[in-house]
Symmetry: none
Subunit: 256 residues, 2 copies
DNA sequence: CCAATTTGGTATTGGTTTGGTATTGTTGTT
DNA sequence: AACAACAATACCAAACCAATACCAAATTGG
């Protein structure tokens, strides 16, 4: 018996409960998530498979899944499947702010400029497909720019957005998030990964530095409320002019 | 039977697993690397050869190889072939957790080592006085160490604590926060500032890198519940092995 | 040096799997 | 009797998987 068959066991589903079938299934999935039997990112059996396991129609399964999707517990993608979403940020308190470069600079009172290196609609690279969880045949909008503040180049930013969230790439003038917001697709959270790198010749020239100079490399994936990935951005921040500041709180589980 | 034929044996490839062919092949290669059957730099049979061995199309093999390439496990060169890459593990630290290096590594189940570079009580430098908001005539305890995980140097840490919070500097064996906790002075929050730097000759030698290699420089000031500053630490994390990860939430005030 | 060969790289197509929608029938409630 | 909720069947379309065919860089051998 596979884990999925265990979770979607007809015995769990059939109960003395007289609730409608779709509500019972909904609760079954909720309980499995709470019990950590289904974790974020896990794939859920297809609607047809669940329908067969539980001996109900696929539309009944669908109705249950749709409610879970609207609550962020599940994420669905036609042709791909159904996956457990991330309904709640892992940390109890927001510790860092999700802002775009423009907003960040504005908050600091700096005048920003952006030089377009590339702004185009094209197909994603395999790596971008993976990070964005999208089909390689689905178009993306790419915004590649050199960001400066007070006339000084500070960062190279390479953002990739699924085209469907930003049909008019010309609408992005300064703030990427403003443009996404205008289309009703503002991200609410993101996962960011960063480490130090040495700039290659091209990057160094753009940032007015020597090849090999240290830079902060940041890779970010951001999410809509319903769990869909809306942005994948890679940035290089020059090491000598850009500090990231974070205010931290004690991690409760770190108590020894 | 050559080693390659053994690795890419159709028996290993065919399994009861119902996963797509390309994912099975991907896993086969990953497993061979983990088992050290394929080592860094080894050449991998050509796509056509693997396709023939496993009786699938070359594009199916290609799809598996492309994902492995994007993850750094394989490297491809047209006309030359496919080789095992250098998938060195990268350590990750959540950027939003206030933990010491020891706790962080322990949470990951890694064996950590620390080599003392310096552990002494002395007067603070002017910079340290400023950061700690203390009198230059007040003693501090300094803990300067090279931190490693699994035998590999990862970070240089230079922590300064006002002496009054840590009278017995010998009590710090592994975790600085454990020792502070034992004295009732565990920090509850911190302000951290980070950017990329190039390692100088001394730092580079400690971390087994070339002078000028990129590193992440983190400066942290942490606070007791009553607002007193309890720690000022400067660390260098090598850029090639250490990722910081942050999960972010939308800043409400950033709405435009 | 150059043609042939080997290798990775790309475009296109068709079948299958998956989610998405429309419509219809049954049952309970008002 | 009318209506809403529940649950079904049937059909549509996006995405994935896997194939064939062709292109081009790099290597090899004469």
């Amino acid at each position: 018996m596979t884990p999925a068959e265990k979770i979607f066991a007809i015995e769990r589903f059939q109960s003395s409960d007289s609730a409608p079938l779709y509500l019972r299934l909904k609760k079954l999935v909720q309980d499995a998530i709470v019990a950590d039997e289904l974790k974020q990112g896990d794939s859920v059996p297809s609607e047809r498979d669940v329908a067969e396991l539980l001996q109900v129609s696929r539309v009944t399964v669908r109705k249950a899944f749709l409610e879970l999707v609207s609550e962020g517990l599940l994420v669905q993608k036609r042709g791909s499947g159904t996956f457990v979403g991330n309904p709640k940020p892992r940390f109890e308190q927001p510790l860092s702010r999700l802002t775009s470069f423009s907003e960040d600079m504005r908050l600091r009172g700096l005048k920003t400029e952006a030089q377009w290196l590339s702004r185009e609609t094209r197909l994603p690279t395999p790596e971008e497909s993976l990070k964005l969880s999208m089909s390689p045949s689905e178009y993306v909008a790419r915004f590649h720019r050199l960001r400066s503040a007070n006339g000084e180049p500070l960062a190279i930013e390479d953002a990739v957005i699924p085209h469907k969230f930003l049909p008019d790439i010309k609408s992005v003038e300064n703030s990427l998030y403003d443009a996404l917001d205008a289309n009703g697709f503002r991200p609410v959270r993101a996962l960011q990964r960063l480490h130090a790198v040495a700039l290659d010749a091209v990057e160094a020239r753009l940032l007015d530095l020597k090849e090999g100079s240290p830079a902060l490399f940041i890779e970010r994936v951001s999410y809509l409320p319903d769990g869909r990935i809306v942005e994948y951005t890679r940035s290089h921040y020059r090491g000598d002019s850009y500090d990231f500041v974070a205010e931290l709180n004690l991690a409760p589980e770190a108590k020894s």
